[in-house]
């Protein structure tokens, strides 16, 4: 809280009072907040649309990533086939796929969502695979001597053991999804924070651009915090085992 007030004060100082950062590129806080307030309905609606787009893409990509990660990590055959595909498709940035998704999906929302899903899928799969591959054989041996079948081994030993890695993948995917969100909103959506930024940039309304960026920062950090909270709950057993 104190940090935010300091930052605000500093911003005000630099722009309005000392004019170190000149207009029109660096508006003071008064213009930014005024701009935010004026466009509050549009901003809220955009934030909502961005949230929908981002979450639908992230959840789809994460679910697909965990499934493919478990399959590639567990089955030797699928690992052999899957890894080259992963290494080839994965690293290509979302921007390269824009024309592809625009052709494949007629709806702007679905294209954008697909872009985000693709970006999220790669890190989640990689880290889930690594988590499954790194399950200690001792734990699998123990489970087998307790009468475990394959279902138990995969769902009750391998996946719980891989959870810390899976969450790492989810965090990376979440971060990547924010970057791709802005790209995804250039694909023809009608509302969204990225769309709003481009729109206002066109009018050189930098005050409003900054307003949207502030909103984006709040939006992204809230989602990150939420994911952290979920991790803390599911990986509670690690407390005391690692430096929490």
């Amino acid at each position: 809280m104190a940090g935010a007030i300091c930052a605000l004060g500093l911003w005000d100082l630099i722009t309005l009072k000392l004019n170190w950062a000149p207009l029109p590129y660096f508006p003071g806080p008064d213009r930014v907040f005024q701009g935010m307030w004026e466009d509050r309905t549009i901003l809220l609606r955009s934030a909502y649309h961005s949230l929908l787009l981002q979450m639908s893409g992230f959840l789809t990509g994460a679910a697909a990533g965990i499934v493919s990660g478990v399959l590639i990590g567990w089955s030797r055959r699928l690992h052999y086939c899957g890894m080259p595909v992963l290494k080839f498709i994965g690293p290509i940035p979302a921007t390269a796929y824009v024309p592809l998704v625009m052709v494949l999906f007629s709806d702007a929302f679905v294209s954008g969502s697909a872009l985000i899903a693709l970006t999220v899928w790669f890190p989640v799969t990689m880290l889930t695979t690594s988590g499954i591959v790194n399950v200690p054989v001792a734990l699998l041996d123990v489970a087998r001597t307790l009468g475990a079948g394959r279902m138990y081994l995969v769902f009750r030993v391998a996946i719980p053991s891989a959870m810390p890695n899976i969450f790492l993948g989810l965090f990376m995917g979440l971060g990547a999804s924010f970057l791709t969100l802005v790209v995804a909103e250039t694909v023809g959506v009608k509302a969204g924070l990225g769309w709003y930024v481009k729109w206002q940039q066109g009018y050189l309304e930098y005050a409003k651009v900054y307003g949207a960026l502030i909103l984006m920062a709040i939006f992204f950090s809230s989602l990150m915090t939420l994911l952290f909270k979920i991790r803390d709950h599911i990986l509670g057993w690690q407390q005391g085992l690692i430096r929490w």
Binding site: V142, R144, T145, G147, G149, Y152, V157, W237
Partner: protein, 266 residues
């Protein structure tokens, strides 16, 4: 011990004990770089129902490998292993295993670790009462909610023991489970395992490098030679239990075994 009373009161079907037949078993490991390691060579042994047999020998004599083969975690290169006359087709809850490292599941607390076998076999619902019984049996009832990293070595091995026994195995394989514990805990655990064996009368095969442990616990001791692993000698321990570690016969047997082991070390 309070556990004794609980044992006699428990309404549990008597666990039938298994007999083990090992015939001329060999195990060869071939490394990717071409080297060949003969872990076991022509090993034969017959274990009767309800017997407590120790396998003792220096490192590299293949005792752990043998145990893992009986458990079904590995297969022999040559030879025949049978439990109750049936060939071994992979791991099973009827052949319980206690590892050197307790290997408790770190994401589960003590209670859930102990009931893991029941969950794995889909019988948790019908056998739920057994979980509390086994927690009491190994003295971990007040610690049921703790996670493995919060337990001491002895407590963790007790949990691992309960986890294996709750499945009512007919054979319990113990691969140096007490090796990492301090002397006092180890002696206490030996008594606990003996007590459980006495009540349940299942077959137990114990791998150890502690001669005192072997003499204290077993009906028979199998002395093995290293590289390749073979049976050097089988000694029957004629004494009644409880045995005293400073008894003359105990010490005599101890020297005899020591001599045997030193001799085979050359």
């Amino acid at each position: 011990m309070a556990a004794e009373d609980k044992e006699s009161q428990a309404h549990r079907p008597e666990a039938i004990a298994s007999a083990v037949q090992i015939q001329d078993v060999s195990k060869v490991y071939r490394h990717p770089n071409g080297t060949k390691v003969v872990a076991l060579d022509g090993f034969s042994l017959s274990v009767r129902e309800g017997e407590m047999v120790s396998l003792i020998g220096p490192s590299g004599c293949g005792k752990s490998t043998l145990l893992r083969m009986i458990a079904g975690l590995e297969s022999p290169t040559q030879g025949d292993l049978r439990v109750d006359g049936q060939p071994i087709r992979g791991p099973s809850a009827t052949r319980g295993f206690m590892f050197q490292d307790p290997s408790l599941f770190p994401w589960l607390n003590v209670r859930r670790n102990i009931q893991a076998g029941l969950v794995a076999r889909g019988v948790l619902h019908s056998r739920r009462a057994a979980v509390e019984e086994y927690l009491e049996l190994v003295g971990l009832a007040p610690f049921a909610h703790l996670y493995p990293h919060q337990l001491s070595g002895g407590m963790a091995q007790r949990a691992a023991l309960a986890r294996a026994l709750i499945n009512d195995p007919q054979l319990l394989l113990l691969d140096e489970p007490l090796g990492a514990l301090d002397q006092f805990t180890r002696m206490r655990m030996q008594d606990e395992v003996l007590q459980l064996w006495r009540v349940r009368r299942i077959t137990m095969l114990l791998v150890t490098h502690d001669i005192d442990e072997a003499i204290y616990m077993s009906d028979r001791i199998v002395i093995m030679t290293p590289s390749p692993g073979r049976v050097e000698q089988v000694i029957t321990v004629p004494q009644d239990r409880p045995r005293h570690r400073n008894d003359a016969r105990f010490l005599a047997l101890r020297s005899e075994i020591l001599e045997r082991l030193n001799f085979t070390g050359e």
